[in-house]
């Protein structure tokens, strides 16, 4: 018989599942704006998970992390991307190679693969919930589907940011004990990456007047 998960593991699992479902919602969102808002919501769930873990496991450093993550991923990043969208005056996400239905089917297949691949490691740890780790792996894979199948720079950037959310879930459940300096370095890196993504998206828009990646096909061979 399966052991009943602890409250802590249960909370982590629920958060991970909500993050995964948000990832699916992004996949079907036709408007870039709603994609960004879904990302903000997803980041909020990750922040809540950080607070939950900080409280249940008494790791005070995680509160600092939660504040930073809230400021950065819920407020700043979505704000910046929404401003770019307003300036660019583009609403619809780049059409994908396949239809929405097929996209969701592909995403279900890869997330199942990720979930069972990590689940099959059969690592039993008393302190750490393995299920949340497996769901995080599924989130990462679905983010890849989003990036590969959508053809505009905003969807691809949001795909990368949400991939990072998936890894954040993994790191919160597994590596909550990492020293704060390292965790802050991770977040700082994300901030820099966001700025660079933003700069290059603006340069791209400035040159081509679109957010689509369809024209990025000159360099090959």
């Amino acid at each position: 018989m399966m052991p009943v998960p602890s409250t802590y593991a249960g909370g982590a699992d629920v958060a991970a599942i909500v993050v995964l479902l948000t990832e699916f919602a992004m996949l079907r969102a036709p408007l870039l704006r709603s994609q960004v808002r879904l990302y903000a919501f997803q980041s909020l769930v990750v922040t809540a998970l950080a607070v939950d873990i900080a409280a249940t496991r008494h790791i005070n450093e995680l509160y600092v992390l939660a504040v930073l993550s809230f400021a950065l991923k819920v407020v700043l990043v979505p704000g910046l991307v929404l401003r770019l969208l307003r300036d660019a005056d583009v609403d619809l996400a780049g059409s994908s190679v396949v239809g929405v239905a097929s996209m969701i089917l592909i995403a279900i297949a890869v997330s199942a693969f990720g979930f069972f691949a990590v689940g099959s490691l059969h690592v039993h740890s008393i302190a750490l919930p393995t299920t949340a780790l497996a769901i995080a792996a599924a989130v990462v894979l679905v983010a890849f589907v989003l990036i590969i199948l959508r053809s505009d720079v905003v969807s691809q950037a949001i795909g990368f940011f949400s991939l990072e959310n998936g890894v954040s879930v993994a790191s919160l459940v597994v590596a909550a004990g990492l020293p704060l300096v390292v965790e802050v370095a991770f977040l700082f890196d994300l901030l820099v990456a966001v700025v660079v993504f933003g700069v290059i998206m603006r340069v791209h828009h400035g040159r081509t007047q679109t957010l689509s990646t369809d024209e990025l096909d000159r360099l090959k061979g």
Binding site: A127, I147, V167, A170, D189, V195, F197, V199, L219
Partner: protein, 494 residues
């Protein structure tokens, strides 16, 4: 010695900030001096690192023989590229030119700082942070020319490399997970701790972490099939940046893979990690050798040659023999010098002929009396001709491979390297040595008047070739000790 580590990690950063505010000439001079100083400091670490197990400063900085090898390679290229950049950049004395120069030198120093930091930091988590910084800084440097090509290349680069590093971050977390079974749920990912506990980690978890690390950091190292950003970024970036990307950045990512390799062999034994590297290495070498046969763009040609050499490094690690591992580490040094020199020469050619298209470049040796022949020499060095360093390193790798039970791999390696040699030397000799093709192909091709673009380019190339000859003919005794020591650290513990 701890002071040296602190100096290495602070000086380039401070200089990066300063160069943003000073005039271009001063920024250039400061960059050259910083490059030379960091190289001097790294060389000063060699004797200690070759005889002691490690040098630490605080708990965050730590070097051993392995990290010093990569430090020396990176800082050498830092100095040489700084010299080259002075001759390569021709900036108008306008507001736009000044802004470009400021951004360029600040970015160059910041990029080198992050690549120097990667081998200095202690632990897998900080290593990931350093390598992520290399990505974002270099993506901006790739985009700096603000052309259609540069924009496309930088978008592909920042997206693909960031995704790769996302996977690498997952690998870091999973490795942390493996460690919690031994150290409990709170510990730092420092190397000494991981290496000490590695033999008791759960093997399945380490296996997953290692494969993800090779895939993730392999994206930045340019391993096939996750190399796709590499030729674009190398060909569209300003040439000094291409030289650093190819000679130093790819090696830095390889360093990260080696750190995971070190842990994986302790948990899993040598077979699995070696097989993973063998598959990626063979795919890289094969694809690069084929692409080298069909290039028209001079800088893309050199980019695929980098994929080829990264494949050789991965295959070299898959041979277990210590002599092959010594060869791999020597190859890191020699490749940095050779690829740097080749890109410097390519920069000279591109400036002279105002095109990267090799069908439009003829009579390079005639037009560029110094950098032309030196580019040919650098390409021969890349093709492992004696007396250059890559000949020695590939010789060590192949002889290590022949002592392996799977010696067919060594034979395949030699065949593919020969194929790559053919592609590389065919195109370069055609562009450089064909006297003047204006007779053969009409007015399409005309050789510009004789004369060097800049003496600084010649100096930078000469430095690279001297280093290659030293590595090839007689590496200094201390350096050999260092390589042996580092190979020992990488070997399978008995």
């Amino acid at each position: 010695m701890a002071a040296v580590l602190v100096a290495l990690i602070t000086v380039p950063f401070v200089v990066a900030v300063v160069t943003f505010f000073v005039p271009r000439r001063a920024a250039w001079l400061l960059t050259v001096v910083t490059g030379a100083v960091t190289f001097g400091l790294s060389v000063a670490l060699i004797p200690t690192a070759a005889s002691h197990s490690q040098i630490t400063a605080d708990s965050l900085l730590r070097v051993d023989a392995l990290s010093v090898v990569f430090l020396v390679a990176t800082t050498f290229l830092y100095g040489a590229t700084a010299i080259f950049a002075g001759g390569y950049l021709h900036l108008a004395d306008s507001a736009a030119g000044r802004r470009y120069g400021r951004r360029f030198y600040a970015g160059l120093n910041l990029f080198c700082w992050s690549m120097v930091a990667a081998p200095l930091v202690n632990g897998l988590a900080l290593l990931w942070v350093a390598i992520e910084i290399t990505t974002v800084v270099s993506a901006l440097l790739v985009a700096i020319d603000d052309t259609d090509g540069a924009t496309e290349a930088s978008w592909k680069y920042v997206l693909i490399a960031s995704l790769g590093l996302g996977i690498a971050l997952l690998a870091t977390i999973i490795m942390y997970y493996a460690g919690t079974t031994v150290f409990g749920s709170a510990y730092d990912l420092s190397y000494v701790k991981l290496l000490a506990g590695a033999s008791r980690f759960p093997p399945d978890v380490v296996r997953l972490a290692f494969v993800l690390a090779v895939l993730g950091f392999g994206t930045k190292m340019g391993l096939v099939p996750v190399h796709t950003w590499l030729p674009d970024a190398h060909s569209e970036a300003p040439t000094p940046v291409s030289a650093l990307l190819s000679g130093a950045l790819l090696a830095t990512s390889f360093y990260a893979i080696l750190r995971y390799f070190q842990i994986a062999v302790r948990t899993l034994g040598p077979t699995f990690p070696r097989n993973v590297l063998l598959i990626f290495g063979l795919a890289s070498l094969l694809l690069a050798a084929l692409y080298l046969l069909s290039q028209r763009d001079l800088k893309r040609l050199l980019a695929y040659s980098s994929v080829e050499h990264m494949g050789i490094l991965a295959i070299g690690m898959s041979f277990g023999a210590p002599i092959a591992i010594v060869g791999v580490l020597l190859h890191v040094l020699a490749h940095a010098a050779a690829k740097g020199t080749a890109f410097f020469g390519a920069g000279s050619v591109v400036r002279k002929f105002a095109t990267k298209d090799m069908t439009k470049i003829r009579g390079g040796v005639g037009a560029l009396p110094w950098s032309g022949p030196m580019l040919v020499a650098a390409v021969l060095a890349l093709s492992a001709m004696p007396p250059f360093g890559i000949f020695r390193s590939e010789f060590l790798i192949v002889s290590g491979g022949l002592s392996d039970p799977r010696d067919t791999v060594a034979a395949v390696l030699v065949i593919l390297v020969t194929l790559a040699f053919f592609g590389l030397s065919w195109f370069t000799t055609q562009t450089m040595l064909t006297p003047d093709a204006s007779t053969a192909e009409g007015a399409l091709v005309s050789t510009p008047p004789k004369g060097e673009v800049s003496n600084l380019i010649v100096v930078a190339m000469a430095l690279g070739l001297v280093a290659l000859v030293i590595l090839g003919v007689h590496p200094p005794a201390q350096l050999s000790h260092l390589l042996d020591h580092a190979a020992n650290e990488l070997g399978v513990p008995r």
